[in-house]
């Protein structure tokens, strides 16, 4: 059973981790959670990203954004680096989300095959 006592402990460790590693905070990961994103399956994607971030204790920001106008490519994950440059991943599912997290967030390597660019090239 989860308890408030446990939350209190998590809160203390989390605070320290964030302070220590804030300067290394590199990525912001956003999942499209408009009606289109949610209906297309964004929930398991966001869930998996939160789980990966917690598992690796990685202080990136995992959050949500609304519909970004690319509904046909949902679920969409956007990764912003420290310079604000954006990589857009499309048709993401829980497994791809884990692969993207491992490659892009943990190893600084864009997971090319899942990007919007790759998808658009395929369509041509």
């Amino acid at each position: 059973m989860k308890s408030l006592e446990e939350l209190k402990k998590l809160k203390e460790t989390a605070g320290k981790e964030m302070e220590l590693r804030d300067s290394n905070k590199r990525y912001r990961v956003l999942v499209g959670m408009g009606t289109c994103g949610i209906a297309a399956g964004a929930r398991p994607v966001l869930n998996r990203l939160v789980e990966e971030a917690a598992k690796h204790d990685y202080p990136c920001v995992v959050s949500q954004t609304g519909c970004i106008g690319l509904c046909k490519y949902e679920p969409i994950v956007e990764v912003f680096d420290r310079e604000g440059d954006k990589t857009t991943y499309v048709y993401v599912d829980a497994e791809k989300a884990a692969a993207i997290f491992d490659s892009h967030i943990l190893h600084n390597k864009v997971a090319e095959e899942y990007t919007l660019d790759a998808e658009e090239r395929k369509g041509k």
Binding site: K11, G15, T35, R43, N47, V62
Partner: protein, 180 residues
């Protein structure tokens, strides 16, 4: 389209946060006596004008300026239409919005409740400092999760932190499980 009730609620909660709410009340009341499930989502966001409210449950109504399509409330209206339910929306500009809806509990077309803990985790991780008062009850018991009470007990909590977000999801679902 909307697989479960948690998905409808997530829509409403995200709507509230995107319209500047910083306090949200979410209540789910499963009444065996009435054979109904009652939902309440109340926020102190920017609210809707009478004019907007008139059309709010029609498809393609939206406040967004980036596009002209809105489906969230239209899906909810359709859910209450086909599950012998009711939907009522009260809203005042600059004061907030109260959405109440209920559905027939064992209606054959009623989707499952879904993962409410996940819905709450997503909502609180969307906006740091957001306050939520959550009640899940049946005719005899209630589970309450209140961010303000928790902050009074142990100080401000950052629900956007991934480890804390996961704690939250499980805590809520265990609480609900004890009531069901």
């Amino acid at each position: 389209m909307m697989e479960d009730l948690a998905m409808h609620l997530l829509e409403l909660l995200i709507n509230a946060v995107e319209h500047k709410a910083d306090t949200i009340v979410l209540e789910i009341f499963i009444s065996e006596e009435d054979e109904r499930i009652y939902f309440l989502v109340k926020d102190n966001g920017e609210g809707m004008s009478e004019e907007f409210l008139k059309n709010a449950t029609k498809p393609f109504t939206t406040t967004r300026t980036t596009r002209k399509v809105g489906m969230g409330l239209a899906f909810l209206k359709s859910l209450t239409d086909y599950t012998d339910g009711h939907l009522n929306i009260d809203s005042k500009i600059n004061e907030g919005t109260i959405i109440r809806f209920d559905v027939k509990k064992d209606h054959i077309d009623l989707p499952p409740l879904g993962d409410i803990g996940e819905t709450i985790m997503f909502t609180l991780s969307k906006k740091p400092g957001l306050d939520l008062h959550f009640v899940f009850k049946n005719d005899n018991n209630a589970f309450i999760f209140d961010t303000i009470k928790i902050a009074e007990e142990i100080g401000e909590v950052d629900y956007t932190n991934p480890s804390i977000a996961l704690w939250l999801k499980t805590y809520i679902n265990e609480g609900i499980g004890n009531i069901k």
